[in-house]
């Protein structure tokens, strides 16, 4: 078991990680870095799921499986995203998010 660490600590970690991810998403221009920020966000969510599962409903494995599936989804998402990024790079010779503004207005 986890000893004396209360659930809140996990939540704090995940919250901070989440918002750090958000911060990265908002401030970085590079598409790949933004993708990494998104991975951070997903990861923080995973932590939440797992922690809740462990502390509040240890008799089930729902959170656990949820995380599992999120990891799968994250993998898929990363694959597609990177494919798109590479495509964008080919077309724009850049992966700066601000330069990709063909669809503006």
């Amino acid at each position: 078991m986890t000893g004396t660490i209360p659930l809140q600590f996990f939540l704090v970690i995940s919250t901070l990680m989440f918002f750090i991810g958000v911060f990265g998403f908002l401030t970085r221009r590079n598409l790949i870095t933004m993708l990494m920020s998104i991975e951070l966000i997903l990861n923080s969510v995973n932590i939440n799921f797992v922690a809740f599962n462990k502390y509040l409903f240890p008799q089930h494995l729902s959170g656990h499986f949820f995380s599992l599936i999120i990891i799968a989804v994250a993998a898929a998402e990363a694959a597609v995203a990177i494919a798109i990024i590479i495509n964008i790079y080919r077309n724009f010779k850049s992966i700066d998010v601000d330069k990709v503004d063909e669809m503006k207005y």
Binding site: V22, F25, L26, R29, V97, V100, D101, M103
Partner: protein, 637 residues
């Protein structure tokens, strides 16, 4: 009772002629269309004479002449009680007018065959003449006031078309426009008057209106506005229409300009027939005026009196012969209006009424004669300014003779017709209103003066050299002159006091020599003065003009009435109403609409910037928005 329903043909035949010539005239030879028009009118004239003879001398039931509704069809139902009908009403004045109109019109038609020969638009001219004859005849036969209004407008339009006959001449176009708009303005008054009258009496019909037990006379109503009853006001408004058509002061300004039309037109429309429509209108409603609203009648009298003096003064200084005649017409119509204004109802009190109609009749003859004579002169010298004329009596003997007869007639020298009718008017005025009576005395003198001024300037005076020798008019133009001269001489012997009276009953007429003799003397004085001044070329006219230079100048410029009107229309209405409205519409009203569109566009242009295509910006907005919502729902709810 005789069946007069055939009278409806009198106007309808000219209408048919109008349509026929108007639609097919350009395909036929000009002279053919002229002959068709003349024939149509001749037919109308014959019918009119038959009507007159059988009406006046064909024996009548009871005392006096009844008013007979010979024909009537409903034209439009406007309200439950009010129906506009078209038909023909036969009574002394309408029969008299039928005779006048068809006679003068026929003369003018014949005359025009010669006068208008070779003009472009010959058939058009005859088509319009027929249209005018139709309208005018329809007007006098009107059974109800609305029919009269309908034909009143038609008359106005025919006048417009005929004045603007020479449509390539800007002055003619301007004159026709002016004539139409001024009379139209007056007609607005007429219309309002009709609306008021018909609303209060619930009828348009003349017979109901003038009947002494009818709603108009038996219930005149109390004072409504400025101390006058509704009936009085409505009659004043109606008179405004009449004043416009009859060129009474201050709505007279269109008449002199209307002389831009061909001279036969001036003779027919602007001397004999249309301009007396106002007189006819008042005469038609006379019982209502006399019995229901004497105040309105006073207005009529004064307007007539002032107009006659005003016009006579102006006529003394004009140099365009047709304009002199135009002002003379205005002055004579002023006489007729005055006569109506000073008349009472019934018996000898109705002398003025009789005199007005009498004068209308004689005036139609001699004024048409004058205009046609002037036309013959203009035809001969191709000019209508009297300064370019003189000594024409040698070249134009027939014209000279008939013109002289007309001048004597209008001056009121016995035993020509003008004397009789004018005398009755003076008598009526004397009994009623001395001020007006003296004005009319003065006008009689002025009339004699300016007519003979005109006469001498044309036929005597200096010997002018013409480009080519003036030649007498063709026979087709002389014959109408002779016929009208005959009418001018002998029309005075018609027993009008038995035929056309205010109540249909004949009355005894006394000649009041105390009034007649001075008036003849005054006329003779006028003639003498004119003879001295204008028979030979002398310096007297210039001296006199110099001594009263202000009056002369004012009179020469027609008392600046045109300028006043121009100021009002061009400066005030066009500049200060119409133009600002046009501006206001484009810039304020439309500007508001465009402004709304502009604001929308501005807003959308700015809102568009929110759609920047910057993912991070969207994310930022999204996240802060989500946070705010969370904050609200978690902490504030």
């Amino acid at each position: 009772m005789t069946d007069y329903s055939y009278t409806i043909l009198i106007p309808l035949v000219p209408l048919a002629v109008f349509l026929f010539i108007g639609l097919t005239g350009h395909k036929m030879k000009p002279i053919v269309s002229g002959l068709i028009g003349t024939a149509g009118l001749a037919f109308g004239a014959i019918l009119a004479y038959i009507t007159a003879i059988s009406y006046f001398w064909g024996g009548h039931e009871g005392a006096g002449y009844a008013s007979i509704k010979a024909f009537e069809i409903p034209w439009l139902h406007v309200t439950k009680n009010l129906t506009i009908s078209l038909g023909s009403l036969i009574d002394p004045i309408s029969v008299m007018m039928l005779v006048v109109i068809t006679t003068v019109s026929l003369m003018v038609h014949i005359y025009s065959l010669g006068y208008m020969k070779g003009e472009k638009g010959f058939h058009r001219f005859f088509a319009f003449l027929s249209l005018f004859s139709f309208s005018m005849l329809g007007l006098v036969l009107a059974t109800n006031i609305f029919q009269m209004y309908i034909f009143w407008e038609l008359v106005g339009v025919s006048s417009f078309l005929l004045i603007g006959f020479y449509y390539e001449k800007p002055s003619a176009v301007a004159a026709s426009k002016k004539a139409f708009i001024v009379t139209r303005f007056a007609d607005l008054g007429f219309l309002i008057g009709i609306l008021m009258l018909s609303f209060n009496t619930q009828t348009f019909d003349f017979q109901t209106l003038v009947s002494q037990t009818g709603p108009a006379i038996s219930q005149p109503g109390g004072a409504a506005f400025m101390g006058l009853s509704v009936l009085t006001w409505s009659l004043i408004f109606i008179f405004m229409g009449g004043a416009g058509k009859s060129a009474m002061f201050p709505l007279h300004i269109w008449l002199p300009d209307a002389m831009e039309g061909p001279t036969p037109v001036s003779a027919l429309i602007h001397a004999a027939t249309m301009v007396v429509a106002g007189v006819y209108l008042v005469a038609r409603l006379f019982p209502v005026y006399a019995l229901g609203a004497p105040d309105a009648l006073t207005v009529v009298a004064w307007v007539g009196g002032i107009s006659s003096l005003f016009a006579a003064v102006i006529a003394c200084t004009q140099t365009d012969i047709k304009r002199v005649l135009a002002y003379s017409t205005m002055s004579q119509i002023g006489y007729m209006m005055l006569a109506l204004g000073v008349s009472g109802y019934g018996g000898h009190d109705g002398l003025g009424f009789m005199a007005a109609n009498f004068h209308l009749f004689t005036h139609a003859m001699f004024k048409a004669l004058l205009f046609l004579g002037a036309g013959a002169v203009i035809h001969a010298v191709h000019n209508n300014d009297m300064s370019g004329m003189g000594g024409l009596r040698k070249y134009l003997p027939w014209t000279h003779a008939t013109f002289l007869i007309a001048c004597i007639t209008i001056a009121g020298i016995p035993p020509l017709s003008g004397f009789f009718s004018k005398d009755e008017i003076l008598v009526a005025a004397f009994h009623h209103n001395p001020v007006l009576f003296y004005i009319e005395y003065a006008v009689a003198g002025l009339t004699a003066f300016y007519m003979f001024r005109l006469y001498y300037s044309i036929f005597w005076g200096k010997e002018t050299h013409y480009h080519h020798t003036p030649h007498e008019a063709p026979l087709v133009m002389i014959i109408p002159l002779l016929i009208l001269a005959f009418g001018s001489i002998f029309a005075g012997f018609l027993p009008f006091e038995e035929l056309v009276t205010s109540d249909g009953l004949p009355f005894e007429l006394h000649t009041e020599w105390a009034i007649a003799i001075p008036s003849v003397l005054i006329a003779l004085v006028g003639i003498t003065v004119a003879t001295i001044m204008y028979r030979k070329v002398t310096a007297i006219p210039d001296k006199i003009a110099g001594s009263v230079s202000h009056l002369y100048k004012w009179s020469y410029h027609k008392f600046y009435m045109d300028e006043v009107y121009l100021f009002v229309t061009k400066k005030i209405i066009f500049r200060f109403i119409s133009r600002p409205i046009a501006w206001f519409d484009r810039h304020v009203v439309d500007g508001t609409m465009n402004g709304i569109a502009g604001v929308t566009q501005f807003a959308s242009f700015n809102i568009r910037n929110l759609q920047s295509g910057k993912v991070q910006q969207y994310a930022y907005v999204f996240i802060t928005g989500a946070l705010v919502l969370v904050f609200i729902f978690v902490f504030l709810w």
